[in-house]
Symmetry: C2
Subunit: 337 residues, 2 copies
DNA sequence: TTGTACGCGTTATCAA
DNA sequence: TTGATAACGCGTACAA
């Protein structure tokens, strides 16, 4: 049987309110009885009931994290950053993955609502677009991570990587290496992150006076297979690209694989730049030149932002956080022959 | 302001118990008033309070997952399997990472206790050894994942990969390829998983009539750096090993890196077998021969086991689950020249 | 078929 | 300094 403060009160011969005060170190209690009560509590193996406490205190000290999947090399460190910062501030994390399934996403939000979390962090998905309404009505602060929403409502704040900036860095790097025919394998068409990277790519081209050629842009979805499928068509073009910017590292890894099968040497025949700098970008062959996103830190910042939203009045001003990635040059790019 | 069943009751002109019954589809309520109440509830944006409900129902439909870190390519899919099965059964997951820090591990357990989770899954760590007592006193079912505990107590059940079997497969594979000098780079000395893999390694050698040579066993810790540090010493031995079994894939990846620096060709000069089959084992060069563990399924099984423990009487018999990995032959091993 | 009253484990207010 | 009592939001035995 679980022991409650009433049980302790009975054992100590005092009222349950005295026990409550003693355990929360109220100055109103004699040092003597306080020690006595604490001893009994320890002996009986008492653990406070956070549910009951939260009911009267009006806060659960719990946040919800909605993620498409944690089995994603990019997301895991982000979640780690969130959990770590949460812990340091006395909060715990309820994790819900939605698997890009709208129904599950909705179920997750409802679950978090009924658990009365103090705030929610939603990571990359189309939530911003489709479920904005629902998220707005959730009644607690919501932070969107890596998910740009056009019309940030009253409860919506975002931590996003600067996609455009990163894509520009990547493309500029290829240009500086002498490449002129530079292809782009895109990510999911409905993600704003893809739009941002595409824009950065175009911008860098324009700045260098290189015409944008739509044939050099291949559709993709951010997964490895997309990279594998996209490469052959690009290499079949009359004028082959010599540089390639990929939506993300997973795509780039797929490209590397396809390149090996096609007998295309990277970086001799083709220079490749990824995006994300996932853990394994440096372990593959050749080690991947990419745009690093500080994943752990992004998680920390998102949680920090959520905490200030939770603590402040709901209309205190907070500017959204835009994190700049940086170029990591490894061995998948080289000067054009 | 949050709306409660009392608010709905007031709006509908009934008592709060009628509302409660109507919302839980009690057959005692007129279809008419039931519909009426449900409509009002929807209009007012009502969401049931899981805390209050759990207080009276005696269950939270929440489980805790303690992990050393999610930013671990092996753990992420496992957690995904847990979360997925939890969701399908109407449970949610509180995630706590302990970072191999005993204090944090303890804090995590206490937090989960106060949140009154219905059960806990603890993944790979020394918990089994050090905190067995504490976990036993937690008062709810505990499932240990990939963590062998010698003295499974009343509440402790385990889902473990068969380390010995996997290590035997790996070593036998090298032996069948003609290797006789086979080294082992160990994992954390205090992990039972390391003991199991070491034992499987010795067993395979013995079965093949190959003497065990302690010089061929290097210390490690399961991280990439350990693999990088261990290789030079092994290759400095008078009689170099031609085969190498690594505690896990991360160690093997470190070895591959060191090998490249030392000018050792894999698999020509050295055949390497890893353990885990993490997502990137097939992407590195050369693609790694390894022992695959069904991570997602392990998570599913652990959650399933926890669910039956939660539902059954606490002393119903459940045999621990031992999952056999299988050998995945890729390109890091070849017949001895 | 519905309402009243109680309890779940806390904290907080008011008296004593 | 301590104790009764109310309140948080909900489910349910019992009475009507």
């Amino acid at each position: 049987m679980r022991v409650s403060i009433k049980d302790i009160a009975r054992a100590a011969g005092v009222s349950h309110s005295t026990v409550s005060r003693a355990l929360s170190d109220s100055p109103l209690i004699t040092a003597e009885t306080k020690a006595q009560i604490k001893r009994i509590a320890r002996e009986m193996g008492y653990t406070p009931d956070a549910r009951a406490r939260s009911l009267v205190m009006g806060e659960t000290r719990t946040v919800g994290v909605v993620v498409t999947t944690i089995a994603d090399p990019f997301m895991a460190p982000v979640v780690q950053g969130i959990e770590s910062t949460a812990y340091e501030n006395g909060y715990s994390v309820i994790l819900a993955s939605a698997n890009s399934d709208p129904a599950r996403e909705l179920a997750a939000v409802e679950m978090l609502q009924s658990k009365r979390v103090d705030g929610v962090i939603v990571t990359a998905s189309r939530v911003g677009a489709l479920y904005q309404d629902h998220l707005g009505r959730i009644g607690v602060p919501v932070v969107l991570l890596n998910n740009h929403s056009e019309q940030s409502g009253r409860y919506l704040y975002t931590v996003t990587v600067d996609n455009q900036h990163g894509a520009r860095l990547a493309t500029q790097h290829l240009i500086e290496l002498g490449h002129r025919r530079i292809a782009y394998i895109a990510g999911p068409a409905d993600h704003s992150s893809n739009a941002g990277r595409m824009e950065g790519y175009r911008q860098a081209l324009t700045e260098a006076g290189i015409p944008f050629i739509s044939d050099l842009v291949a559709q993709g979805d951010g997964k490895m297979d997309a990279g594998m499928r996209a490469l052959p068509a690009l290499m079949d073009l009359a004028e082959r690209p010599t540089g390639l910017f990929c939506y993300n590292d997973m795509t780039a890894i797929g490209v590397l694989r396809a390149a090996r099968q096609l007998g295309i040497d990277v970086p001799r025949d083709l220079s490749i730049v990824g995006f994300d700098d996932i853990a394994f970008a440096s372990f593959i062959t050749p080690p991947l030149t990419t745009i690093a996103q500080p994943q752990f830190e992004m998680g920390q910042q998102a949680m920090q932002m959520l905490l200030t939203r939770i603590r402040q009045s709901p209309d205190a001003p907070i500017s959204d956080i835009l994190i700049e990635g940086k170029l990591i040059v490894r061995e998948s790019t080289r000067r054009r022959a």
